[in-house]
Amino acid sequence: MNADPRGVLAGAHFIDGDHACSEGALAAGCRFVAGYPITPSTEVVERIAQRFPFVGGIFIQMEDEIASSIAIQGAAWAGKKVMTVTSGPGFSLMMEHIGYAAMTETPCVFVDVQRAGPSTGLPTQPAQGDMMQARWGSHGDYSIIALCPNSPQESFDLTIRAFNLAEQYRTPVLLMLDECVGHMTERVVIPPAEQIEITPRRFYDGSREDFLLYKAGPDLVPAMVKAGDGYRIHVTGLTHDERGYPAMTAAAQDKKVRRLIDKIRVNAGDIIDYREQDVEGADVVVVTYGITSRTAIPAIDMARREGMRVGHLRLVVAWPFPEERIRALAKNVKAFVVPELNLGQMSLEVERCAAGACRVAQVGHAGGGVHNPHDIYLAIKKSVR
């Protein structure tokens, strides 16, 4: 279906990635946002607070991030499309509720505008240190979807995609900005509502007698209902059966958790998104995401000017990770070079998939700024040898 025009601020804008994220949420049909102020993500909720009164939405600033991340889930079960927004320390506080959303299969979007950590770290400066936390942060086994925009335009586009994926797979979806993308101001084109494709919530439409809250179809995703619709649902974070009732057995645990992981795994082909440039015949492929994809460009250009054959693979979706693509490329290249604003996170995933078939060089940066492209260039040059 198309977007509700009331939320779509169609036209060309000059806004930052945080504001673009707010507009993406509005266009996606999000009408409930709970948040708590934290740099560098606060602008997202500030714009939401400003815009929502005129589109029939409700924003509430909760008492902390723990409250925000569960209030949205109450609202989701009342039928709303929902989002919460945070950075570093707040993201840590939200971890338990990412697990609750995964376990209860509650569609919701978590935005993390990454700043340098650990702990309070560098509140106003960029990092990409939450990438593994995004994947594994909540306790227990589950799967997750995480998107990494590299521009304000993509912040808008991927926020819409995050909402669509959350609905399609009934899962929390994480939008992993970094401070640079959040605060970078560029031209953002918001298309008219009729050109924005929205995935509506899939509601159960069978008989009440046959209704089972967690009975999944062939896509492994159960249809949803709302509180107040008369189904007398029971939703719990305990391991549960298809009725939603607690089931305290290893068999029930296996069935539930395996489906949670499989619904992302078997649909990974539809979820994964990456952009490639000149990877065919390349000796070195630079793997990037978020702001690092932009600091890598001058480095790649420098290397190419010297005759090195360098490709670029940018992760638009970080999780699920494009395992097969990396495996295939690993057989044909000498090395992957992975610049990131941490001291080794997504590079570990590249290394795992390369499985020794080629070298993997991480170009680490602890955060607080971005790479000097020359450092990435040097890593490429070393790897070509």
Binding site: P53, G57, M62, I66, K226, V235, T236
Partner: protein
């Protein structure tokens, strides 16, 4: 000698428990210990709902974690068993997203006032339209009887083996100070008063709060040598004083001391959504789209 004939309950056409319709009978038996007060409070709640005339399909119940956190799972309503301490913010989202729902939070003292204490005070401050029923058994039952913010001074607990020296909360005073519009306290012995209070609370617009003192014979009573559940009922009967309208400052609880019961607060204050809609309508004019859910 006549032959014994055994008939099942259905063959005997026994009268059904009048609250069966409010329970998920397919989840029985419940987990609560013999002599526990939580089941009694649930019975009162079912009767309160029955007499309230509320449409059951439009009631949602939200619990946290713990013995009382299991209440949501046994009620035949839209029911949410959330994370530890977070029933109130979940309920806030549920209520604000669909104001037509009657949202009831039903949980324990540790869940709502220790780990969830911050959410309790803020929901009361905002006057979010919800009812909070707090079963106070003075301890963490599910995890084995640890000290709670409600454990009376000198009472022992597994993590306060020599007695509790921390000042406990006076919950009605806390709720009133933060802005609750309805505050009452009863015990699991005072079932008629409790039922009436629960009915009034769910019919009240705004943040309503009912504290129910209930026995935990397995952990709190046994450790403190207070006898079984019945002995606690006798204590409640003999040591309670009903003082409706009492100043909540004066209703704090001492170890096995006097228990002041009653309806302490019943006042009116615009709810969160009423305030928001009125404020925005006034300040933003016609461009504001009044929020209806």
């Amino acid at each position: 000698m006549p032959e014994n004939v055994f008939l099942s309950a259905t063959e005997l056409s026994l009268p059904h428990n009048p609250v069966e319709a409010f329970l998920r009978m397919d989840r029985m038996p419940h987990i609560w210990c013999p002599g526990c007060g939580i089941g009694t409070t649930v019975n009162c709640f079912a009767h309160a709902l029955e007499s309230s005339g509320l449409e059951l399909d439009k009631i949602a119940i939200v619990s946290g974690i713990g013995c009382s956190g299991r209440v949501a799972g046994y009620l035949n309503l839209d029911s949410f068993h959330t994370t530890h301490g977070r029933a109130i913010p979940f309920a806030t989202g549920l209520k604000l997203a669909n104001p037509d729902l009657k949202v009831v939070v039903y949980s324990g003292d540790g869940d709502l006032t220790a780990i969830g204490g911050n959410h309790f005070i803020h929901a009361a401050r905002r006057n979010v339209d919800m009812t909070v029923i707090l079963v106070n058994n003075f301890t963490y039952g599910m995890t084995g009887g640890q000290v709670a913010p409600t454990t009376p001074l000198t009472a022992t607990a597994s993590t306060a083996p020599y007695g509790n020296f921390e000042q406990p909360f006076n919950l009605p005073y806390l709720a009133e100070s933060c802005g609750a519009v309805y505050v009452a306290r009863w015990t699991a012995y005072h079932v008629r008063h409790l039922t009436k209070a629960m009915k009034e609370a769910v019919q009240k617009k705004g943040f309503s709060f009912v504290e129910v003192i209930a026995p935990c014979p397995t952990l709190y009573s046994r450790r403190n040598k207070l006898g079984d559940g019945l002995d606690q009922m006798v204590y409640y009967k003999d040591n309670s004083e009903i003082r409706n309208g009492a100043d909540t400052k004066t209703v704090g609880l001492d170890f096995q001391g006097k228990i002041v019961l009653g309806k302490f607060v019943d006042k009116d204050r615009p709810t969160y959504l009423e305030t928001m809609n009125e404020y925005y309508s006034k300040h933003l004019g016609d461009k504001y789209i009044p929020y209806t859910g």
